[in-house]
C-alpha cells in the first residue's frame, strides 16, 4: 500500500475567469522523485501555490502528508516538514547569506549543521555577500540550501534548475538523487529541462491548461512509447492504424508512427502489410512531452 505524500483529485482553481487549474489529479508516492512538467503558464506554479496554502483552493481535493490542505494561514506545522524553493528565488535582499541562514535556522528544529556546511561548500556560497548581490543561480543555490538542510520529508522545488550552470546542476542532481534512498525524502519538482528530469525522476506528470495529460513511472512510459518507421516497397493506400498509433506521418513510401501504447500489436499490423519493413526506435521524454502538447 503506497502512501502518497501529495494527492490531488479534481483540483480546480480559477483566476478572474481563467481556469488556471482545471481538474488536476496528482499522486506523488513517498520516496519518489516526481517531475512536474508543462508549458509556461500551464498551471505548475499555481498548483504549487495551492499545495502550500498560498492560495485558497477552489474545488476538488488536495492533500499533503494525508492532511487536507488548509488554505491561507493554515498548516504551519506541515510546512516544517517541507523544504521549498520558490519560482522567483527571492529572499530578503539586505541580508547576507550568513544572516539568512541564521534567520531561517530557528524555524526548523531538525536543522543539520553538517548539511548546512556541506551545501555552503558544494554550492560555493559566500557567507558575507548580501542576497541582493547574488546572481539568480546563486540565490537558487541558497534557497536549496535552506530547503535541504532541515531534514524535510518533502521537497517542493519550483524550477530549481533554471539559471544554474552545468557544473552546479550536476552537483545538485547528485544531491537530490541520493536523498530518497538515504533519507526517505520525496522530491516534487517542476522543470522545463527535460534532460535533467529524465536523469533523476522516477515518476512524471505533464500538465497542460491546468489538467494533467500524462502521468506515470518514467521507465514504464519509455517502454510504452516507441517510434516506428515503416518503409513500403510501393506507396501504400491509407491504413487504419490500431489505437495507440498516435502520431502518424507519411512521406511517400515511408510512414512514421509515434505509438503511445499497444506497440507490439501495431508492429504486427505493420509487418503484416504487403511490402513493409519495420524499424523500432526508443522515444525520449522530449518527444513524449511535445507529442502530448501537440495533441491536447
Amino acid at each position: 500500500m503506497n502512501d502518497f505524500v501529495i494527492e490531488t483529485v479534481g483540483l480546480r482553481r480559477a483566476f478572474g475567469g481563467h481556469l488556471a487549474v482545471n481538474g488536476l489529479d496528482l499522486a506523488v508516492p513517498r520516496g519518489s522523485i516526481f517531475g512536474f512538467l508543462g508549458r509556461n503558464g500551464a498551471g505548475k506554479t499555481t498548483t504549487i501555490r495551492l499545495l502550500l496554502g498560498f492560495l485558497r483552493s477552489g474545488s476538488g481535493e488536495a492533500r499533503v502528508f494525508g492532511e487536507p490542505v488548509a488554505g491561507p494561514d493554515g498548516n504551519a506545522a506541515l510546512r516544517r516538514r517541507i523544504g521549498y524553493v520558490s519560482e522567483n528565488k527571492y529572499m530578503y535582499p539586505y541580508m547576507t547569506v550568513g544572516q539568512i541562514i541564521r534567520f531561517t535556522r530557528p524555524f526548523f528544529p531538525r536543522w543539520h549543521d553538517d548539511l548546512e556546511r556541506r551545501y555552503l561548500e558544494i554550492f560555493n556560497l559566500p557567507l558575507n555577500r548580501k542576497v541582493s548581490a547574488l546572481s539568480k543561480g546563486m540565490r537558487t543555490c541558497l534557497m536549496l540550501l535552506l530547503a535541504m538542510s532541515h531534514d524535510a520529508e518533502l521537497l517542493i522545488l519550483d524550477e530549481p534548475i533554471e539559471g544554474l550552470d552545468p557544473a552546479v546542476i550536476e552537483t545538485l542532481l547528485k544531491e537530490l538523487a541520493a536523498l530518497p534512498a538515504a533519507e526517505g525524502t520525496t522530491i516534487f519538482f517542476s522543470s522545463h529541462q527535460l534532460a535533467e528530469v529524465e536523469q533523476i525522476a522516477d515518476r512524471i506528470a505533464i500538465i497542460d491548461r491546468g489538467r494533467n495529460v500524462l502521468a506515470g513511472a518514467l521507465d514504464d512510459l519509455k517502454v510504452q512509447y516507441q517510434r516506428l518507421c515503416v518503409v513500403f516497397e510501393r506507396e501504400p493506400a491509407p491504413i487504419a492504424w490500431l489505437p495507440g498509433a498516435d502520431h502518424v506521418r507519411q512521406d511517400g513510401r515511408t510512414v512514421s508512427i509515434l505509438a503511445s501504447r499497444n506497440v507490439e500489436a501495431i508492429v504486427e499490423q505493420a509487418r503484416s502489410l504487403p511490402g513493409a519493413s519495420v524499424e523500432r526506435y526508443p522515444v525520449s521524454l522530449k518527444e513524449i512531452f511535445l507529442e502530448h502538447l501537440r495533441s491536447n
Binding site: L55, Y84, E87, Y90, M91, Y92, P93, Y94, F107
Partner: protein
C-alpha cells in the same frame, strides 16, 4: 536593515529642524514641528517596519520574497505581529531619542516645563504614534508602498478631524494642545485610550487581511 537609513534620515531632518527652531525662543513652535515630524516618522516606519523585515505587503506578491516568508512554518498572524511590534518599538525608541535631544537643545523648554510633565508628554506622543503606525501597517497589507503611505496619511488626518468633531475625549489633537501634560500635569487618558483603540482596530484589520490574502 532598511529602517536604519530611514531613521537616520529622519533624525537628520529633525536635528536640523530642532536647530532652526531653537533660534526661535517660543518652545511651542518647536514642539508642534516635532509632532508633525514624528507622526510622519511613525507612518514611514509603519511601512518599512513590516516591509523590510517580513514582506507581507501587497507590493511584493509574486515578485518579492513573500513566497519565501510564507513558506516558513509560522502562522501569518505571528509573522505580522512580530514585525509590527518591532517597528513600533523602533518608533518609540526614536521618539524617546528625539525627546532627549529636544530637552537638551532647547533651554526655553527646560525653563518653562516640569521634567515630569515632559516625560508624560513623551509617553503621550508614543502612545499616540501607535495610531499612524498601525494605519500604515494596515494599508501595506493591500496597497503598494508609496501609495500606502499617502493613504495612511490621508486616513489619519481624516480620523483626527472626525475625532476632533465628535467629543473632546476622542479629539486626539487635544492631547497636545489644551489637554497637554505640560499644562494639565497629567496624562490625557481619554485621548490616549482613543489613540490606542484606533491603533488596535487598524492592527486587527491588518491581521485579518493578511490571514486571508492570497499570494
Amino acid at each position: 536593515m532598511e529602517t536604519r537609513w530611514r531613521l537616520l534620515g529622519m533624525a537628520m531632518y529633525l536635528l536640523i529642524a530642532l536647530a532652526l527652531s531653537s533660534l526661535n525662543p517660543a518652545s511651542t513652535n518647536v514642539l508642534t514641528t516635532l509632532w508633525f515630524m514624528l507622526t510622519f516618522l511613525a507612518i514611514s516606519l509603519g511601512g518599512s517596519g513590516v516591509r523590510s523585515q517580513a514582506p507581507l505587503g501587497f507590493s511584493e506578491g509574486l515578485a518579492g520574497s513573500t513566497q519565501f516568508t510564507l513558506s516558513l512554518p509560522v502562522s501569518r498572524l505571528r509573522l505580522l505581529l512580530v514585525r509590527a511590534v518591532a517597528g513600533m518599538v523602533e518608533t518609540a525608541a526614536a521618539t524617546a531619542a528625539v525627546a532627549c535631544l529636544t530637552w537638551a537643545l532647547i533651554p526655553n523648554l527646560r525653563q518653562t516645563a516640569v521634567p515630569g510633565d515632559f516625560a508624560r508628554l513623551v509617553i503621550t506622543t508614543i502612545l499616540y504614534l501607535s495610531a499612524p503606525y498601525c494605519a500604515h501597517v494596515f494599508f501595506t497589507t493591500w496597497v503598494e508602498e508609496p501609495y500606502s503611505m499617502a493613504y495612511a496619511t490621508f486616513t489619519l488626518i481624516l480620523l483626527l478631524l472626525v475625532g476632533h468633531r465628535l467629543t473632546p475625549a476622542t479629539d486626539i489633537v487635544r492631547a497636545f494642545s489644551q489637554a497637554s501634560p505640560l499644562l494639565t500635569h497629567r496624562l490625557p487618558w481619554p485621548q490616549l485610550t482613543a489613540s490606542v483603540i484606533l491603533a488596535l482596530i487598524l492592527a486587527f484589520a491588518a491581521v485579518q487581511i493578511v490571514r486571508r490574502r492570497e499570494y
